[in-house]
Amino acid sequence: MGEQIVFGFAAAAALVSAVMVITLKGPFRATVALIGTLLSLAVLFVLLLAPFVAAIQVIVYAGAIVVLFLFVIAYLGERPVAEVGDRLGRYAVFAWLAVIGLAVQGVVVLATTDLPGFRDDPVQAGDIGSPEAIGRSFIDRYIVPFEATSLALLVAAIGAVLLAKRAVRSEGGR
């Protein structure tokens, strides 16, 4: 019962702050609302017996990535968004149509699927979320994806440096 109460609060907080992320005008406020979604999802990860993923969610996502966003927003300053009424505004109705269509499909699929154990209590889980289990899984079975992520990070770092260098040269090598 307690698990259901925690799930209800965390899910409601995640949905409300997600709505705020896509509706608030100022970039700063939307970013702070994103922190709310990320922390609610971290609570859900703890409920799902994934404490390590929850910790990484708080440290890397709510810590590093959101702080990077806030740095860039502070650097660019709060700029007014361009006036409405140009090209993209006309297509907003199609965006709504696509999202509503997808929502209907999702509800139909969730209501009719017969995945085993989909509506029952969860089975007893073993040790699936501890740092030890995750480390063993990474080293034993997923060593190639693990190395691939390090390559992706390296390429992203090089790309960011190149972007910054070209931008500096274009404004007179300041």
């Binding site: 017996l49 994934a50 990535i65 966003f69 965006a95 929502a103 972007l163």
Partner: protein, 107 residues
């Protein structure tokens, strides 16, 4: 422990919440025009995918979904680095921060 409660939360609720978050993120990507806020909506999409991965990992009692969620977080970090680098580069060209006006590559 919480996970061993008698009356747990069934998987369908987690998948429904993940779908709702995905729809919100998708709507944000399509109606926002500030590229910074567009990246925030993409983060919502990636997080909803992470929630389903971890939920399936719990209900099928395997670690693989959590591994995949961690990899998705790394990909999200690289995406943010490149995306914010592009936003700063556009800003330095003295252009408005509006995806509607970045149409130079349009055929």
């Amino acid at each position: 422990m919480i996970g061993e409660a008698v009356n747990g939360v069934p998987l369908i609720l987690y998948i429904g919440l993940s779908g709702a978050l995905f729809l919100l993120g998708l709507l944000g990507v399509m109606i926002r025009r500030n590229p910074l806020l567009l990246l925030l909506a993409v983060e919502l999409l990636l997080n909803s995918a992470n929630l389903s991965l971890v939920a399936f990992s719990r209900y099928w009692n395997v670690t693989d979904g959590q591994i995949f969620a961690l990899v998705v977080m790394v990909v999200a970090a690289t995406e943010v680095v490149i995306g914010l680098g592009l936003v700063v580069a556009v800003f330095r060209q003295r252009l408005a921060l509006d995806v509607d006006q970045m149409s130079t590559l349009k055929g």
